[in-house]
Amino acid sequence: MSGFVGRIALGVLWVLLAPLLPGIINRVKAWVAGRRGPPVLQLYYDLHRLWQKGVVQSHLASPGFIAGPAVAWVAVLGAALLVPLGPAGTGLSFRGDVLLMLYLLALGRFATAWAAMETGSAFEGMGAAREVTFAVLAEAALVAAMLALSVQSGSLSLLTMLVPSGGAAAVLLAAGLFTVLLAENCRVPFDDPNTHLELTMIHEVMVLDHSGPPLAVILHGASLKLLLFSVLLVESVLPVRSLAPPASAALLAGGVLATIVGVGVVESLLARFAFRRVPLLLLTALLFCVFALLVAWQGGVA
């Protein structure tokens, strides 16, 4: 999608769709546990409420405390605009945009961790340290996945490189990217978004001190990131982009829904892992992606 209006429309689409996902996950978890659970649109209500609320801020925080969430949100939205949203396409596409996407996510991480450190709280220090350290392995896995996609499509642009090959590479990529999705979005088994113990949290503890509109921006950014990773996962594995627009949109929606239900099911069945096991799981994800790369090379040679 090109043109200024088209890009704005695409951005609005991403922004409006994103908060659906956490609602669906909560619904799935409630369903597995036999509860009724909050409505699917709960996050929209929460965001609306937070936007109206006042802000309490630490004495120690600099202006970066408010700017951090804003920068992170823009960075994630920018990254999302580079990923083709099914038939709607991308906001911008060029050779090497995949690297811009990866590093925009890194910018978001920088801004979030920076804002967390603003308060001088040891808990937030812990969260930020975990976030940036675990991201090393997650990023390596993500780069390996992108390398695999780039090798099998011979392209360096997200618009043309998300061409699933099917077979073993797709299975390996799906496993690797799903694990990275759980880690990057701080879901079980890496992090527990519902825990009440600050000592064991990663992402949630980084935003402990945020309130009001900045917290709304953070929560929305998190849902946007979840949508981005789900779309990326689905399009790397299913031939979304090669279908006619209605079928393509339906397949993408179905795939994202399946992914999100998967996240909810994992969350219902697993407990959070001990921190020392997190690197092992991330290394496994990295290996899945590296093996996908090997398969892609094989495909190229054969």
Binding site: G54, V55, V56, Q57, S58, H59, L60, S62, P63, G64, I66, A67, P69, A70, V71, V74, G78, L92, F94, R95, G96, D97, L99, L100, Y103, L104, A106, L107, R109, F110, A113, W114, M117, E118, T119, G120, S121, G125, A128, A129, V132, T133, V136, L137, E139, A140, L142, V143, S150, V151, L156, L208, D209, G212, P213, P214, F275, L293, G300, V301
Partner: protein
């Protein structure tokens, strides 16, 4: 002709500035130095914007060799940071190393600064082996005297000695390199050598000599302590410019000479290893200047990896990804010079204000030092290689080359993919490192009295930081401005001599960066406006509802990197001293962790001890008893006689 005149004026001004380094004339010194670097900068920019390369054959000055100078696009590319950092460092030093605070060494510092700039320019323009070596030696010596400006402190002297010894070990390799080259080509004059494949193996000697200067792993032993203990403006020029001389040498001679087929692989592997190990060590540091020094090793690694890929491409007949990687590497020379000097200036400003380099003894400085804090933050974003600043642009080129090469079948694809993974992990650790550095120093609450009462630096120190931060932003948003210069240097380096065309994606990337910057400004503005509208209340930091948090309860620099230090224990080999809390009435408990340099403490140190021990043993034979000495002579003569008669018998 104009280029020659500009360079001559620049050299003349810099030489005459030496006369005014004293306290009374320090204004004039600064004016002359700035004029000198401006003239040289103009010459370099003229060459980079397409003027014909300048070459000059002069009279005999050193030994029996006529002077031969040359300024082509490669020299000019490296001359630009010399001029920029040389000028800004001189301005910065006016306050940072002022006559008032350093009455003993300020004038000396100015004089050696001029010598350093002159020698750097000579190294970059010399086109004759002897002149090159002369410039190289003066550069090493002036760096030594700059590092040891504050020579009353023992650790400064130790760092200086380590530097000069390591530097001379490298120079030794270069002496051998130039001498062998001269012997085989029949002259000391340097220039494109052409197809002489038998000379290729000499490149390894050059790589050794220049690798020491560049601080590539495992030749980096001098780097951390020298950068940490030198005055901060000196650290800035050492890191931003000095290390690049090693890179210049590698670029220069891999362009002029035939290189061994495996040189590309060697550079690629060294680069990847330097990047990962360097940044892991950086993350584990608690001293901000040592952290920056180790991070320089990482950036040198990125540059070397790019150059290695370019050499690999040349031997694979693949011009396209090689040119991208070479352009990325050369652009990273500029990027690193800008953001690392900025960060060293920032660290110097903090050191100036608080008197400590330990990050865990600072904190909360954004309130008292807003200029330093905000420019350091820009530098931290740039060095983390995230958009929209200059660090991302140069790494983006290197990655493009790597991703392209990864699609190639065979070993090149394998190698490129592995290096891409290594650089990606290194990039993520770099981000963690600079979140830590920025947050520990500038965020939270002050951990010591000195940090509480810190004051912002004055205009002389602020201006260079602001200018460098602006450079990082401008190059990041408008990379097309610098592309022609980098492309000309790549063209001058590549055997084909053709400057690569700008990739079409660069303009799009630039637009994306500008859009990102605009969006960030708008959204931050909106959010701040919204927060003002709904009302802002200040309160305590939420620490699990604990009502009296103290500054000492904050996360420290060591704890921030604890997880990563645990992962990389096998290479960091931390030394720990732990006194546990014991008994019902425990005495003081303590925990000290330090991370010595791997190569220095585990390889160079033990080997040096071994040599010393052997020498001490051998020394027992020298005891001053004449009788024994006569016995030695007799034994020697007998052995010689035996050898001679045995040889005669055969």
């Amino acid at each position: 002709m104009t280029l020659g005149a500009l360079l001559a004026i620049s050299a003349g001004t810099l030489v005459s500035s030496l006369a005014f380094a004293g306290r009374r004339w320090s204004h004039l010194w600064l004016a002359l130095t700035l004029a000198g670097v401006l003239f040289a900068l103009t010459a370099a920019l003229l060459v980079l914007s397409g003027a014909r390369a300048w070459e000059w054959h002069g009279p005999i000055l050193v030994g029996v060799e006529p002077a031969h100078l040359r300024l082509d696009a490669i020299s000019a590319l490296f001359l630009v940071p010399v001029c920029v950092i040389g000028g800004l460092g001189a301005v910065y030093a006016r306050e940072y190393w002022s006559d008032h605070h350093q009455p003993l060494s300020a004038a000396r510092g100015r004089a050696w600064w001029s010598v350093q700039l002159l020698s750097l320019t000579l190294v970059l323009t010399a086109s004759n082996g002897l002149y090159f070596l002369a410039g190289w030696e003066v550069m090493a010596l002036s760096s030594f005297f700059l590092i040891t400006l504050d020579r009353r402190r023992a650790e400064v002297r130790a760092a200086g000695w380590l530097y000069i010894v390591a530097s001379h070990a490298g120079t030794l390799a270069l002496f051998a390199f130039f001498a062998l080259l001269a012997a085989r080509t029949g002259g000391w004059d340097l220039g494109p050598i052409g197809a002489r494949p038998e000379l290729a193996s000499l490149f390894w000697l050059a790589l050794l000599g220049f690798g020491v200067k560049a601080g590539a792993l495992p030749l980096h032993i001098w780097l951390p302590s020298a950068h940490a203990n030198a005055p901060s403006h000196v650290s800035a020029i050492l890191s931003g410019v000095g290390l690049k001389m090693g890179i210049y040498g590698i670029v220069r001679f891999s362009g002029w000479m035939p290189v061994p087929a495996s040189a590309g692989w060697a550079l690629l592997a060294t680069g990847a290893a330097s990047a990962v190990v360097g940044i892991v060590f950086a993350f584990a540091q608690t001293d901000v200047k040592r952290l920056l020094a180790y991070c320089s090793i990482e950036n040198i690694g990125v540059i070397l990896a790019g150059l290695g890929l370019a050499l690999l491409a040349a031997s694979h007949g693949e011009a396209r990804w090689g040119q991208l990687a070479a352009a990325g590497a050369l652009l990273h020379v500029w990027s690193h010079a800008a953001f690392k000097s900025l960060l060293f200036f920032g660290a110097g400003s903090v050191l100036h204000a608080t008197g400590t380099r330990e990050m865990s003894r600072t904190g909360g400085l954004w309130r008292t030092m807003p200029w330093t804090a905000s420019t350091f933050a820009v530098g931290a974003v740039a060095v983390s290689g995230v958009p929209p600043l200059n660090g991302f642009v140069s790494e983006w080129f290197v990655y493009l080359g790597l991703f392209d090469a990864a699609s190639a079948p065979g070993r090149a694809g394998w190698g490129a993919a592995l290096v891409a993974l290594a650089l990606a992990s290194a990039g993520a650790v770099a981000l963690a490192t600079f979140v830590k550095a920025g947050a520990m120093i500038f965020l939270g609450s002050p951990r010591t009295k000195a940090a509480t009462f810190a004051t912002e630096s004055g205009n002389w120190m602020r201006a260079p930081m602001v200018l460098l931060a602006a450079t990082c932003v401008v190059v990041g948003l408008l990379p097309m401005l610098v592309w022609p210069a980098v492309a000309r240097a790549v063209g001058a380096w590549a055997p084909s001599g053709v400057a690569p065309a700008a990739p079409a994606a660069l303009a799009t990337l630039s637009r994306a960066h500008v859009a990102l910057a605009l969006a960030v400004t708008v959204v931050v503005g909106l959010l701040v406006h919204r927060v003002r509208t709904v009302g802002l209340r200040r309160s305590l930091t939420w620490d699990c509802a604990y009502a009296v948090p103290t500054a000492r309860m904050q996360y420290s620099a060591g704890s921030f990197s604890a997880i990563a230090v645990g992962w990389f224990r096998w290479i960091l080999l931390p030394e720990r001293a732990l006194r546990r809390v014991r008994g019902a009435l425990p005495a003081r408990a303590s925990y000290i962790e330090r991370i010595p340099d791997l190569v220095l403490a585990r390889v160079v140190g033990p080997v040096g001890d071994l040599i010393t021990r052997f020498a001490m043993t051998a020394r027992r034979a020298q005891h001053g008893r004449l009788q024994s000495y006569i016995l030695y002579v007799l034994a020697g003569l007998t052995m010689l006689g035996a050898l001679a008669s045995l040889g005669g018998a055969r």
